[in-house]
């Protein structure tokens, strides 16, 4: 009897069971239970079977997964750090010093958090590069795909990642933090019309102070992580809805062209979704024997490897490099040079390059270098999937011939960004003068 209830006894009375303590909802029918399982996102992280092509590391390089594990790592270490850090102008610096010297594993925790944050910016960026170069933002052969949307979600996540890193940068309240955020928010000021207001809202005033610290703290610990977690869930859900990675579409396309033997079909009688005669459903566009493996353990084992490698690598880097902490923030003393966080240094470099001096006149490059150029880049990146006219055969493959031009432009921009970042990070000294790595900066004099 399909309508038979699950939690009623023979007499039809509702019984109180231990289950009621942990489950707020009891499905009334097997069909309801089935629906619940089908709808549950957590139970559908993994497909039943994955394409071998999708889990080949030479295709995805696991960059998205690495980003996700880094985010997980950051969340876990971040929650512990929240117990130890005091977001006040008077106490913030001291609480970081305590982490460094007095708290068990404090130095390691902080270094792990910091290094993971830097690596996450890199991993998310490289993930974007990978997706572009493999044409993975393009729809393939499956129905109802919307990979363009997922590409835009990814871009949003890249921005949120940068914001997360930037807001975290201020929290130690040392000179590095204070002046990096000063430079960063001064660039925001160059936005036409709204710039001053944007900066005011971000700082909670006209200067970086306790108001700024608490704003950045709440953004960093609550708002942005939740936003990123929501976007990540959406992003991953879309990956499943789009039929997995784009590499699988490529396999399906190849299958079609070589007119493979008919793939087996399956009859859905599961979970009571349908009773009586069931429809025959073609379960896969690709031959499972040749191209698919069960997700457990095939995918699971590799995810574990990636997670462990990510953890081991970040931990080793954390021990080796530590996390920097400069002198306490001092609004009266500007370090020379004052640099934004490294991932914004291409912007700072652009601002410098586009600042033009004509005699006594100075045209500040903040608008061109700090707002217009990055704004156009972002717009172009969002529009890229719609501008791409190549066919489905260019989906899910590295450097497809049909996308040669798009890949070329994209790579050129990436290389330019990286070069500018490297120059800004390693080759700029006092007064933003250019120094080769083998040239010594002028010595920083001491008091005594």
């Amino acid at each position: 009897m399909a309508e038979e209830t699950l939690t009623r006894g023979q007499d039809g009375k509702r019984r109180l069971s231990l289950r009621d303590l942990t489950w707020s909802w009891n499905p009334a029918t097997p069909r309801e239970a089935g629906d619940a399982v089908v709808r549950n996102f957590l139970l559908h992280w993994f497909p039943n079977k994955v394409a071998k092509a999708s889990i080949a590391s030479r295709y995805s390089m696991w960059l998205g997964v690495i980003s996700l594990f880094l985010f997980l790592n950051l969340t876990l270490t971040g929650v512990v750090l929240m117990f130890l850090y005091v977001p006040s102008v008077e106490r913030a610096y001291g609480s970081i010093k305590d982490l460094e010297y007095a708290v068990s594993f404090g130095r390691f925790l902080r270094a792990l958090h910091r290094i993971s944050a830097h690596l996450m910016v890199i991993a998310v960026f490289l993930h974007m590069v990978r997706v572009f170069l493999t044409g993975a933002y393009k729809n393939g052969v499956l129905a109802r795909q919307n990979r363009r949307l997922n590409w835009c979600l990814g871009l949003a996540m890249l921005l949120v990642t940068l914001l997360l890193s930037f807001t975290g940068y201020l929290l130690p309240w040392d000179q590095l933090a204070f002046w990096a955020v000063t430079v960063g928010t001064n660039i925001a000021k160059a936005v036409p019309v709204a710039g001053e207001a944007v900066r005011f809202v971000l700082l909670g005033g006209h200067e970086i102070n306790q108001n700024t610290l608490i704003r950045f703290y709440v953004l960093h610990c609550v708002f942005l992580p939740m936003l990123l977690a929501g976007l990540a869930a959406w992003h991953l859900w879309r990956v499943r809805k789009d039929g997995g990675l784009a590499a699988r579409d490529r396999v399906a396309l190849g299958e079609r062209q070589e007119a493979a033997p008919p793939v087996p079909s399956k009859t859905y009688m599961l979970l009571g979704i349908a009773s009586g005669r069931a429809p025959d459903v073609q379960t896969s566009l690709v031959d499972p024997e040749r191209h698919l493996v069960p997700a457990v353990p095939g995918l699971l084992r590799r995810l574990l490897v990636v997670a462990l490698v990510t953890f081991a690598a970040t931990s080793a880097l954390a021990i080796w490099m530590g996390a920097p902490l400069e002198a306490p923030a001092n609004p009266d003393v500007t370090p020379n040079p004052a640099k934004a966080p490294w991932y914004f240094l291409w912007l700072q470099e652009l601002v410098t390059v586009t600042t033009v001096r004509l005699g006594g006149w100075t045209i500040n490059g903040a608008l061109v270098g700090g707002v217009i150029v990055p704004g156009l880049l972002l717009l172009w990146a969002c529009a890229a999937p719609w501008l791409d006219r190549s066919g489905p055969e260019a989906t899910g493959v590295w450097f497809h011939r049909a996308r040669r031009r798009a890949n070329g432009i994209f790579l050129a921009i990436c290389v330019a960004l990286i070069v500018l970042t490297v120059i800004g990070t390693f080759l700029r000294g006092p007064y933003w003068n250019f120094y080769w790595p083998w040239e010594a900066w002028p010595a920083h004099p001491a008091r005594y």
Binding site: G94, Y101, A102, R107, R301, L308, A312, P445
Partner: protein, 395 residues
């Protein structure tokens, strides 16, 4: 392709485990433990095993809530407050007693006076001769570097962070000499110092807040530091800033060192007033109030104050003012007593009636001798009252 996955998983798991072990190992052995063991052995040898048992273990710190500082120096410098280790080697020696008498360690800690990084628990971070720590420990090497005769002279600049408004600080010879020179040579003719002075030279009140990178060291032959620049510049201003109008005062090396140390100390010190010398944290009477109190305590009518009569009575001609004014002005007692009680004041005081009988019996017991003295004083007060009256009437 998948056969290798298991081996890969096992290998990465092992790698992660190794990393965890390294992390745990890095955290497990703090640097101060070795010193604490050495200190325990030293105490056992010199002061006996019972005292050694009382040597604390683990991280030691002095938390200065008022100054918002924490000093963990005593994690290694364990003998600071122990008696009997005066000649022990560092880091175990007893601190000289004199400075600690006025600066108890639990209120002032270590780094306020000595410099160094109180947060840190290992070397060289704790001594602060590291990047990004701007107040390193004052050590003897500094005196050697700048050829200062007194090996601890440099510490005196730290004294002046708090004692900058004191003319003399006991034991701080360089400081006192520097301040005297600053007065004698009339630096204020050109420079504002602590809010007073001329406008020809720069304001020196916060001169040490100016970053060392803002000075030009290109002409300097000695150490290119802020202090080195001041030493050279004080002795020979024109050689180090050619456009200056600052005259050459013919300062000796020691003069320049003294003034240089004072200059080094002129910066913001953000400490609560309770830790600063000379801060007035009590209710100071005005000169008029102080004079009034002196007249009451030590004037002609001090008898009435000592005995407590003034609680209820004014003695106006002697300048004694009662806060309550419950009873009549005693300056008029001579004419007041007959009017109120029909008796002379001496008779009344010898055999009081009414409220005064109770007061003189219980609260202010007076001997016969004292009563006679009181009567004399009351008569004197009345005479003075009359004189005052005549004086003001005559005018």
């Amino acid at each position: 392709m998948f056969r290798n996955d298991r081996i890969l998983l096992a290998a990465t798991a092992l790698l992660a485990l190794i990393v965890c072990v390294v992390v745990a190992w890095e955290d497990a052995a703090p640097g101060y433990e070795r010193y604490q063991e050495e200190f325990r052995a030293l105490v056992a040898e010199r002061l006996g095993p019972e005292r050694a048992a009382a040597v604390p273990t683990g991280l030691q710190q002095i938390w200065l809530e008022e100054a918002a500082r924490v000093d963990r120096c005593t994690s290694c410098h364990m003998g600071v407050t122990w008696k009997g280790l005066e000649d022990a080697p560092e880091p175990f020696a007893t601190h000289p007693a004199a400075p600690l008498a006025h600066h108890p360690i639990e209120r002032f800690g270590c780094t306020l006076c000595h410099g160094g990084q109180g947060y840190a628990t290992d070397l060289p971070d704790a001594h602060g001769w590291v990047e990004h720590w701007e107040e390193p420990l004052i050590d003897k090497k500094l005196a050697e570097d700048y050829r200062i005769r007194d090996p601890w002279a440099f510490l005196q600049y730290r004294c002046n962070l708090c004692h900058r408004f004191d003319r003399e600080v006991a034991g701080a010879d360089y400081l006192n000499r520097g301040k005297r020179l600053i007065q004698d040579k009339g630096c204020r003719a050109c420079h504002v110092i602590n809010g007073r002075g001329g406008a020809i030279g720069p304001d020196l009140t916060r001169v040490a807040e100016k970053g060392p990178e803002q000075y030009d060291y290109s002409r300097l032959t000695t150490l290119p530091t802020l202090f080195g620049w001041h030493l050279a510049h004080l002795q020979n201003p024109k050689s180090y800033s050619p456009d200056t109008v600052m005259p050459e005062f013919g300062f000796s090396t020691e003069d320049a060192q003294s003034i240089g140390l004072v200059l080094l100390s002129w910066r913001d010190t953000r400490l609560p007033a309770s830790l600063l010398p000379g801060a007035i944290l009590r209710d100071v009477p005005t000169p008029e109030e102080a004079e009034r109190e002196r007249v009451m305590r030590h004037g002609e009518g001090k008898f009435f104050v000592e005995k407590g009569c003034f609680i209820c009575h004014d003695v106006s001609s002697f300048g004694i003012v009662s806060a309550t004014k419950i009873g009549p002005d005693l300056a008029l007692a001579v004419e007041d007593a007959p009017r109120r009680f029909g008796r002379t004041v001496d008779d009344f005081l010898m055999n009081p009636s009414g409220t005064m009988a109770v007061v003189l019996a219980k609260q202010i017991p007076l001997t016969t001798e004292e009563r006679r003295h009181a009567i004399e004083l009351l008569e004197a007060a009345y005479r003075k009252h009359k004189e005052n009256q005549d004086g003001s009437a005559g005018k």
